[in-house]
C-alpha cells in the first residue's frame, strides 16, 4: 500500500525515531510503513491520521478509487 508518511514526516522535520515515539512503535516499524513493506493495523492508521490531522485516505492509498 502506498502512503505519504515519509513526505508528511519530512515536512515536519521529524526523524523516524521521533515519529516512532509519537506513534508508540519502533523506528523499524516506521521505516517498514514508509517503504510500503508493512501495512499498519487499523489502530495505528488512526493514530497516524490523528497525529497529522488528516483523513486516513489522504495518507494511505490502496490503489482503489472510492465509489
Amino acid at each position: 500500500m502506498n502512503n505519504r508518511l515519509r513526505v508528511l514526516r519530512a515536512e515536519r522535520n521529524w526523524s523516524q525515531a521521533e515519529l516512532a515515539t509519537e506513534l508508540e512503535v519502533s523506528r523499524q516499524a516506521v521505516n517498514a510503513i514508509e517503504t510500503g513493506k508493512h501495512d499498519p493495523s487499523l489502530g495505528l492508521a488512526f493514530r497516524i491520521s490523528r497525529l497529522f490531522d488528516m483523513p486516513i485516505e489522504q495518507i494511505f492509498d490502496d490503489g482503489h478509487e472510492a465509489r
Binding site: A17, A20, T21, E24, V25, S26, R27, Q28, A29, N31, A32, I33, T35, G36, K37, H38, P40, S41, L44
Partner: protein, 152 residues
C-alpha cells in the same frame, strides 16, 4: 496523552529487533554443537540465548506490530517444519503398521515387528533446536525480504 506506567519507549521497542539476533546466534551455535559436541558452560549459556526469539513471539506485549508481523512469518516456518516432521512420522509409523498387518494376512504370523519409526524419531533436544532453527530462519527470511525489497 495519558501516562502509562512502565510503558515501553521507542528504544525498548527497537531493542527487541537486536535481541532476536542474539537468540538466532544461540540457535546457530547449538546447530553447530550437534556436530561438534561441546559440553561446557558456553553451550549452557547459548541454550539460554536461544529462548529469546520464541519467548518474544509468545509474549509480544512490549513489542510493536511490525516485529509481531516478522514473528508471524517465523512462527509459520516453525509450524511448517513441525508439520513436515509429523508428516514423515505419520508415513513411517503407518508403514510399520501396514508391514505388521501384511505379515499377519500373508502368513498368519503375529510376532513380526518393524520399527522404522525409531529411525525418524528425534530426541527432544534435537527437535527443539530444529524448531528454533526454523523459527529464526523464518524471521531472517522476512527481515531480509523487507531489507532487500525496500525502496530507497
Amino acid at each position: 496523552m495519558a501516562y502509562v506506567p512502565n510503558a515501553p519507549d521507542e528504544k525498548e521497542r527497537s531493542y527487541h529487533y537486536s535481541l532476536i539476533w542474539l537468540s538466532a546466534c544461540g540457535t546457530l551455535f547449538w546447530v553447530a554443537n550437534i556436530f561438534v559436541g561441546m559440553d561446557n558452560m558456553l553451550s549452557a549459556i547459548f541454550f539460554g540465548a536461544m529462548v529469546g526469539g520464541p519467548a518474544m513471539a509468545a509474549f509480544p506485549n512490549r513489542t510493536d506490530e511490525y516485529f509481531r508481523s516478522l514473528c508471524n512469518v517465523a512462527m509459520r516456518w516453525m509450524c511448517g517444519a513441525l508439520a513436515i516432521y509429523l508428516c514423515i512420522l505419520f508415513l513411517v509409523v503407518n508403514g510399520d503398521l501396514a508391514h505388521q498387518a501384511g505379515s499377519y494376512l500373508a502368513s498368519g504370523e503375529t510376532g513380526v515387528r518393524r520399527s522404522s519409526a525409531l529411525l525418524a524419531t528425534l530426541d527432544s533436544r534435537t527437535l527443539a533446536i530444529g524448531l528454533a532453527l526454523a523459527f529464526h530462519g523464518g524471521y531472517a527470511f522476512a527481515w531480509a525480504h523487507d531489507k532487500i525489497g525496500s525502496r530507497p
